[in-house]
């Protein structure tokens, strides 16, 4: 289990290869990559800057992974989240979950991502032609996390 927050880009293929190496119990690996879009709320986005709360961010994501491990069989999990200034087409976040079978890997990956969106302390600021603005939290993200409570 690993959580990494940094400015530099990540290599999905290399991270997946590292995860399955030396662990022959793994039968399924699910991954999610979040990418910077060029349009948000109808305005074009030139760049985006991500801020986080060093220490609490890593702690919050580790707790989310622990919750996923309590619900599904998770053999390994990795979350990488970038901070600093990013531009459209850049990768922002990576979640990789390894399990014995695909059902647990898919579910745990989606669960981790839904709770990362609503619980992990990151904030986005966009630069648009209208100027800089902080991105507002979305109700849809809260709803996505809520549905796991059943």
């Amino acid at each position: 289990m690993s959580v990494r927050i940094h400015e530099q880009d990540f290599d999905v293929s290399a991270e997946m290869a590292a995860m399955r190496k030396d662990n022959p119990k793994i039968g399924a690996i699910a991954s999610f990559v979040g990418v910077v879009r060029d349009i948000n709320e109808g305005d074009s986005v030139a760049t985006m800057t991500l801020e986080h709360y060093p220490g609490m961010t890593e702690k919050a994501i580790t707790e989310i992974i622990d919750q996923a491990r309590g619900r599904w069989e998770v053999l390994d999990a990795l979350v990488i989240h970038r901070v600093g200034t990013l531009k459209p087409t850049d990768q922002i976040v990576l979640v990789i979950v390894a399990s014995t079978h695909r059902g647990d890997a898919f579910a745990a990956c989606e669960f981790i991502m839904d709770f990362l969106k609503t619980r992990a302390p990151f904030w986005k600021k966009e630069i648009t032609p209208q100027g800089a603005r902080w991105v507002d939290a979305r109700v849809a993200d809260d709803q996505a996390a809520e549905r796991w409570k059943t």
Partner: protein, 84 residues
Amino acid sequence: MITLLYFARLREALGTGREELLLPSGINTLGALRAHLEQRGDAWAKEMAAGRNLRAAVNQSVAMADTPIKDGDEVAFFPPVTGG
């Protein structure tokens, strides 16, 4: 002393990201601390007002208005999160 941290939109509105504060006597919950900060007026009164949608953490764990605060704690206030 407690350490106070402010992030993102809140940090910009208050003009500071960090301060050390001698915890006033009688202030022993997050809600009481927020009300105390609101008394500073101006941007503080606006940003810390009860109607503002603010989140908080005490020692890097999510906290509510009744979460206890004591000397030495790290207390953070921030807007709803928008990562991922």
